[in-house]
Each structure stands twice: as structure tokens, then as C-alpha cells.
């Protein structure tokens, strides 16, 4: 089997380490995406996966163009129009102060998905940094760091995030901070496992015996080769993160009004869940759909990048 993707040999060793890592990760993200794409549109992709990818694409489009195509001003209060059920004028109804639910849904897509993505990416980044540092430090320090992660992990992340978000005050930013703070230890632990596995492979050892410094080793061999596992991890996390954000919003520590992020919309419609059901049903559906689509995509990505299928060429 031929392949011309995976990792462009562009970065020169003489460059600054950060440049290398940036280039390497950019190149491998590109490579992975290309590989993924080929698999996706190959004949053997399950219909479910295509649908999920389609849905994710749709959500992404909604997130990008959503704010520009809203039928109404998503923030305009029109108290005389409050609590209108779905109709031709308001396809998804209006909320308790008369704002158009569809418009708010569209306006909030980006916010919701972006914050979920931000949480996953940041937690992964913190996790990778901690795991890398741990991997570079002597064994004892490494163990101490991992123990610290274990301790953090003995507080269930929802409780920790709830406590932290409450402490930081209700805002999207504090939710992001709280969620990252609550989820980095498990990410770090996972990353540590992944890095450790990569580090013990003989191609890394073969670079090690040349006297390549550990940080350089990390950037040049270990991290790029751990990325696949990291993508899988990250893609699996997004779904859960979307759900968790909405849970925090439901508990009242979400973004304050008039933020149209979906979690906050549910929280605002909480009192009307079953009477003026449209206020929270649609954001609830959007969150569920998003979570399900990302969940399926995460699954698919995992089976694509599964290490056992990697050698099959």
C-alpha cells in the first residue's frame, strides 16, 4: 500500500523547539485528517459513521455561519411575544422574554461547540505538558506527579467542576477553567501512559542512544508518534464535555444571560421544561445530537486509528 501523507519532513532540527513541535503537530494533524478523510469516504465506512460525520459537519457550519443567518435578533426582548409555541413566524417558538429560540440556538452553536472544544484542547494540552514534564523528570518525580493526578481524580470531575465553577462565579470562562481543572489529571494520566508506551519503542531508543537530548527526543519522536492516540482521546472527550457543560449550566453555574449557549438556554427554560417545552427542548436536542454525533465520530476515529489496524498494510 502506498502512502504519501503522515508527517511532512519540513521541520529542521536547528529550528527553535517550539517551531518544530508546531510544525510537526500541524503536519501530523494534516496527515491524520487526510488519512481519516480517505477512510471516511472509502467504501467501507459504515452508514452511521457517515451520518455522524455529516452531523458534525453540519454543527460546525452552524457554529460558523449561525450568528449571521438568525431570522431574528437573538438578544432582542419582545415581552409581548413571550412564550409563543413553534409557529411559522417562530419556527422553534419564543422564550419567556419573547426571544426567538431558533435564532438563539444558531447564535449559540459556536459558543457551545467552541467552549467544549476549548475545554478538550486545553485539558489535553495541560495533560500533555504535565505528562511530558513527568516523563522527562526522574522516576521519583514522575511518580509523585502521577500520584498527585490520582489524588485529583478521587474527586469526581463533575463535583470538582461544580465547586470550582461556583467558586469562580457563573460565566463561560469559569466553566472552561473549572472543567479543564477537573479533567486535566485524567488526561495527564492517559497521556503519560501513551507517552511511556511510545518512549519504550525501539525507534525512540534508537534516537536516545545517539545522545539526543530528552526534550528533543520528546518533540521529535515521542509526541508526534503519540498524537494519534491523543486525537482519539480528544475526540472521545468532546461528547462528554458537551454534556457536562450543559449539566453545569443546569445547576446554575453556566454563562449568565443573555448568553445564548445551549446549556444556559436549557437552564433558562428549566422552569418551562414541560409546559413551554420548546424553550429547553430544542437546545436539549441540539446538545444531545451534538454529543451523540461527536460520540459516534470519536468511536469512528478510534477504530480508524486503532493501533491494531495500523500495521495492516
Amino acid at each position: 500500500m502506498k502512502s504519501e501523507t503522515a508527517g511532512a519532513p519540513s521541520a529542521k532540527l536547528a529550528d527553535a523547539p517550539s517551531a518544530i513541535s508546531a510544525a510537526v503537530s500541524a503536519a501530523s494533524i494534516g496527515g491524520a485528517a487526510a488519512r481519516l478523510g480517505r477512510r471516511l469516504f472509502g467504501r467501507r465506512t459504515a452508514g452511521v459513521d457517515r451520518m455522524a460525520f455529516g452531523l458534525v459537519a453540519l454543527l460546525t457550519i452552524a457554529a460558523v455561519v449561525g450568528p449571521f443567518v438568525t431570522p431574528y435578533d437573538p438578544f432582542a426582548v419582545e415581552t409581548s411575544e413571550a412564550l409563543r409555541p413553534p409557529s411559522a413566524a417562530h419556527l422553534l417558538g419564543t422564550d419567556d422574554v419573547g426571544r426567538d429560540v431558533l435564532s438563539r440556538l444558531l447564535a449559540g452553536a459556536g459558543l457551545t461547540l467552541l467552549s467544549a472544544a476549548a475545554i478538550v484542547v486545553l485539558a489535553a494540552a495541560v495533560g500533555i505538558v504535565v505528562a511530558s514534564v513527568a516523563a522527562l523528570l526522574p522516576r521519583r518525580a514522575d511518580e509523585a506527579i502521577m500520584r498527585a493526578c490520582d489524588i485529583f481524580m478521587s474527586i469526581p470531575s463533575l463535583v470538582l467542576a461544580l465547586g470550582l465553577a461556583a467558586a469562580l462565579g457563573p460565566s463561560m470562562l469559569s466553566i472552561i477553567v473549572a472543567m479543564v481543572a477537573a479533567s486535566w489529571p485524567s488526561t495527564a494520566r492517559l497521556m503519560r501512559g501513551i507517552l511511556r508506551e511510545t518512549m519504550s519503542s525501539s525507534y525512540v531508543e534508537s534516537a536516545r542512544i545517539l545522545g539526543m537530548s530528552r526534550p528533543r527526543l520528546m518533540l521529535r519522536h515521542v509526541l508526534p508518534n503519540s498524537l494519534d492516540a491523543i486525537y482519539v482521546q480528544a475526540s472521545m472527550e468532546i461528547s462528554g464535555t458537551i454534556v457536562m457543560i450543559s449539566g453545569l449550566a443546569f445547576l446554575g453555574v453556566g454563562a449568565p444571560p443573555p448568553s445564548p449557549d445551549w446549556g444556559s438556554m436549557i437552564a433558562e427554560g428549566q422552569q418551562y421544561t414541560t409546559t413551554a417545552w420548546w424553550i429547553s427542548l430544542f437546545p436539549g436536542l441540539a446538545i444531545s445530537l451534538g454529543a451523540i454525533a461527536f460520540g459516534l465520530v470519536g468511536d469512528a476515529v478510534r477504530s480508524f486509528v486503532d493501533p491494531s489496524s495500523r500495521r495492516s498494510s
Binding site: 413571550a82 446554575g252 437552564a267 421544561t273 414541560t274
Partner: protein, 523 residues
């Protein structure tokens, strides 16, 4: 299949209930007889008033008070018209400068424990409040000491002249000191009273499942016994309003409140149910920061008043349950000044903003997201202000956070949506709390500071003559209104939904929702 199971469970249930009742309940003289009648006069109330503690000192929290009121008695109370009525105290007299108050107590009152009520119980209850210093103790700031001269007479000494002190006593529940003392422990019985009861009220505690359910049984030895009171009351603490609605519609509740307006509208179509709107002794305000960078300017404050969509508030935030305010004091209080209902006037507001030169400026609006009304009000305010060129940033805060923010001038929000209420229908204490410059940053939520108002308040509070006091307080109100220190927005009503088994529910000005102790059966 599930349906079948449910039925099975219910049959089993009623069988056991019948057994339990026939074995331990005294037969009641009701006409229908048997266990059925006992069941019929049980009223089940669902509300979000989940008691944090049953310690009567914590009655300043409306959630607690709702549960406490039927179990305890106070010395005095106010009736629906705001008139003071005797309860455990039959008579009260101030000395000349109103620094000493003598109470004559009701004879023959018994606590649920069987202990007789005496002056010692009053002294104990007041001293305990002073010692602990929290909750309802805040109404007793002028209390110095008290003394039982005999079983039925108490002399209370105040630290300064305070004519309203007698009104404040309506907030203090009287404890059975002989019962409490042995359980006092090291925390003045705060722990014990949290889950136990030591009152003399119309209902005694049956079982208590914290955060869930309080079962009350009628006190057959009550001094004001009335057999129209239900034989038992179950208070179910259900925080979610839609769960309340669903339980009510499923027939599991007789009374529920705090439903969303849509739900109320739907339920009102069904003649099986009764919808009662009770005025509440509370009011919705938007406090304006008198010393704020932007709101420090009276023109801006007036503009905000003119910008707000009051009708929208009534319609959306309150679901038409309540009315637009016409005073800076809640309803049912003497000496209120009628300021007229505020009107939205965007044009004028815009001009004022332009004149003040603050177009496009940002201001902070604090609100408590746990109160539904504020969520909508915040959004409406934000939208209203946008129309006059002010950019409002909403800041959701818990009450403790809000208190902390207010305590420092630099963290003080420009606008704060809040409820305030008169614990008892007297203008003085409430006005003093809100507008006295000495209390700025504590209970004076606007940092209002006006020497003239301070002087008037002092004069009014220490006036031995009610009339004089009243005119002082009215002048205070006029001054505050003239200073545009706040948006007086609405009087939110308590909407109660009940089936027809329950009689009319009277308004009680010392109670946030209603006094469970006053419930009567319909027949």
C-alpha cells in the same frame, strides 16, 4: 405491566395506612367516620420551601419560616390589614421614652410537650436569640435584657428608644425552655432544634425527614383551637416547580405554589382547582449605586427608571402574577407614600443619557439567578438599557456573594435586582435598614447617604408618637424617590393553586408566602 404494579403498590399502601391509623389514632367525631375522614382532613402542601433548619431563630429565612410558623407561637402578630394582634402576649405597654416594654402573657397556654407556657420561656427565647446573634436576632438589635416579674409578666429593657420593638417581636418564636434546656449542649440547642420542635403552635411535629417532608398533626390542646383546621398537614419540600405541578396534577398535593405562569394559566382552565393570588410583603427593586461612576449621576438613575419595561416585567418575569409597584415600600405597610406607577419613556431616558454624556457606557447588573423573576428581569433590563445606549453586563451572584460585593464601594455593582421585604408591617425599620448612611454596604444596598434622611430616620424611630414617626418616614420616602435611588418595580404575588378541599387562605404580613397555621378545611 407497570400500571398494574403501581396499583398493587397503592392497594398495599392504603391497607397498611388504615391499620396504622386504626391502631393509634383517636377516633374523630367527623360524620363520615373511620379512617376515611382522617385521611380527608389531611392537607398535603408542596412547595420549594425546603427548611435548612427547624431552629426557630432562623425564621428570618423564608424557607425555614414557612415550615416553622405552624409549630410555634409568637408574642404578637399582624393581621391581614396590618393591625397588630395579640398572640401569646395579651397586652404590652411601653414606658415613657419607649426604652422598656412590659408584656402580659396569655394564661393557660401549653406547649406540645405538655409544659405550661410562662414568662421564663419568653426570657429564655429572647436571651437565646441575643446569645446566638444570627437569624431573627437581627430584629432584636435594641434588646438589652428581660426579666420575668412573675409567671405572666415580662419586662424587657431596650438599649435605646424603639417603638417598633413590639412589632419586631412578631418575628420571634417562643420556645419551651423546660424542654430545650436539657438539650442545650454547647451550641444553645441549635443542633437539637434543627430537627426537633419545642413550640406551642396550632400544629405539632409528627415526623420530620430533612429536605423532604414535615408531617404536622393538629394540636388539640391549642389555646385557639379550631376544628376546621385539618387534622394533619404534610409539607413536602419539592424544589422543582414542574415537579410540584406534576405532583399536584397527579392528585398527590392539595396545595402548591411557585408554579410558572404558563402552568397557572393552564391549571386555571380547570374548574376543579382554585387559584389564589396572595399579596406578598415583598417587593422587587433594582438598587442603584448612588456612588457609582455612572449611576452616581442622578440623570442616569432617572434614565434607567424611565427605560425599564415595567409592563414587560409584569408579563414576562411575573407571568402577570402580581402588580407594578407604586411605592418604595411593600404593600400592607402603614405610612407608605404613593409615588404612582412608573412609566417607560425611552425618549426622555435617551435625552437624559445624552445630557449625562455616558452613551455607550457599560454598567454592571447583579442578580440572583436562583430567583426566576430576576432571570427574566435581568434580561429585560439589559435589553431596555441597550435601547437608551447603556451596555449592561449581567452578573449572576448568590446572595452571599452579593453581600460581599456591596460591602466595598469598589466592588459594588451599579444596579442590583433584588427582593426586599418587611419582616413585619412597619415602615421605620425597613426604611432605616435601606437608607441609613451608617448601614451603607450592609443592608443599605445603594450606599445612599443623605444627612437629612439620616436625621429624619433617627427622629422617626425614636419618636414616641406614631403620627410624628409616620410623617418623618413619609418625608424619607419622598426624598429617596426624588433622588432616584432605586427602581421600584413590582409587587410579586404568591400564587397558590389548590384543590377545593382547602378553605380560603388568609394573607399574613409577617409571612413570605402564607402562614400554614392559618389553614382551614373548606367545609
Amino acid at each position: 405491566m407497570n400500571l398494574h404494579k403501581r396499583k398493587l403498590a397503592l392497594t398495599l399502601l392504603s391497607a397498611t395506612t388504615a391499620m396504622a391509623l386504626s391502631s393509634c389514632q383517636l377516633p374523630t367525631g367527623a360524620s363520615s367516620g373511620g379512617s376515611g375522614s382522617a385521611k380527608q382532613s389531611t392537607i398535603v402542601i408542596g412547595s420549594s420551601n425546603t427548611a435548612e433548619t427547624l431552629d426557630p431563630l432562623q425564621s428570618s429565612d423564608a424557607h425555614n419560616d414557612f415550615n416553622l410558623a405552624p409549630m410555634y407561637d409568637r408574642l404578637v402578630d399582624f393581621d391581614a390589614k396590618g393591625e397588630m394582634v395579640p398572640k401569646l402576649a395579651e397586652q404590652w405597654t411601653f414606658n415613657g421614652d419607649a426604652t422598656q416594654l412590659t408584656l402580659t402573657l396569655r394564661k393557660g397556654v401549653k406547649f406540645h410537650s405538655g409544659n405550661s407556657f410562662t414568662a421564663a420561656d419568653v426570657v429564655y427565647s429572647l436571651d437565646r436569640a441575643k446569645k446566638i446573634g444570627s437569624g431573627a436576632a437581627s430584629f432584636l438589635s435594641d434588646y438589652a435584657s428581660s426579666k420575668a416579674t412573675d409567671d405572666l409578666h415580662v419586662v424587657i429593657t431596650l438599649s435605646k428608644t424603639d417603638l417598633d420593638f413590639i412589632g419586631a417581636l412578631s418575628q420571634i418564636y417562643i420556645l419551651d425552655s423546660n424542654l430545650v434546656k436539657p438539650n442545650q449542649g454547647s451550641d444553645n440547642a441549635q443542633g437539637w432544634l434543627g430537627t426537633h420542635e419545642a413550640g406551642s403552635g396550632p400544629f405539632a411535629m409528627g415526623t420530620y425527614k430533612p429536605n423532604q417532608e414535615l408531617d404536622l398533626t393538629r394540636n388539640k390542646d391549642y389555646w385557639d383551637f379550631d376544628d376546621k383546621r385539618p387534622t394533619s398537614i404534610v409539607l413536602r419540600m419539592i424544589n422543582d416547580s414542574s415537579a410540584n405541578r406534576d405532583e399536584f396534577l397527579a392528585g398527590n398535593l392539595d396545595i402548591t405554589m411557585g408554579l410558572a405562569s404558563v402552568d397557572v394559566d393552564n391549571i386555571s382552565k380547570d374548574s376543579k382547582y382554585e387559584i389564589v393570588n396572595i399579596p406578598a410583603p415583598r417587593q422587587t427593586y433594582a438598587w442603584l449605586n448612588m456612588q457609582g461612576k455612572i449611576t452616581g449621576d442622578a440623570r442616569v438613575r432617572e434614565a434607567i427608571q424611565l427605560a425599564y419595561d415595567y409592563n414587560g416585567h409584569l408579563a414576562s418575569a411575573l407571568g402577570n402574577q402580581g402588580s407594578i409597584a407604586n411605592s418604595i415600600l411593600p404593600e400592607g405597610i402603614a405610612c407608605r407614600v404613593d409615588a404612582g406607577k412608573p412609566q417607560q419613556d425611552l425618549e426622555k431616558a435617551k435625552q437624559l443619557i445624552k445630557a449625562a454624556g455616558v452613551e455607550g457606557a457599560s454598567i454592571t447588573v447583579a442578580y440572583q439567578p436562583s430567583v426566576r423573576e430576576f432571570n427574566a428581569a435581568g434580561t429585560i433590563l439589559q435589553d431596555s438599557l441597550k435601547k437608551i445606549g447603556l451596555n449592561a453586563q449581567l452578573k449572576a451572584v448568590t446572595f452571599p456573594q452579593y453581600s460581599a460585593l456591596v460591602s466595598k464601594p469598589e466592588t459594588m455593582p451599579d444596579v442590583a435586582l433584588a427582593w426586599d421585604f418587611a419582616a413585619f408591617p412597619a415602615a421605620g425599620p425597613m426604611l432605616n435598614r435601606e437608607w441609613n448612611s451608617a448601614l451603607a454596604g450592609q443592608t443599605n444596598f445603594t450606599r445612599y447617604s443623605n444627612p437629612k434622611v439620616d436625621a429624619l430616620l433617627k427622629d422617626g424611630l425614636t419618636a414616641a408618637d406614631q403620627k410624628q414617626a409616620c410623617s418623618d418616614f413619609q418625608e424619607v420616602q419622598q426624598q429617596v424617590i426624588a433622588d432616584h435611588a432605586l427602581l421600584y418595580i413590582a409587587y410579586p404575588a404568591v400564587t397558590m393553586v389548590s384543590d377545593k378541599r382547602v378553605g380560603p387562605i388568609p394573607f399574613s404580613p409577617t409571612q413570605q408566602d402564607f402562614n400554614v397555621g392559618t389553614l382551614r378545611m373548606a367545609k
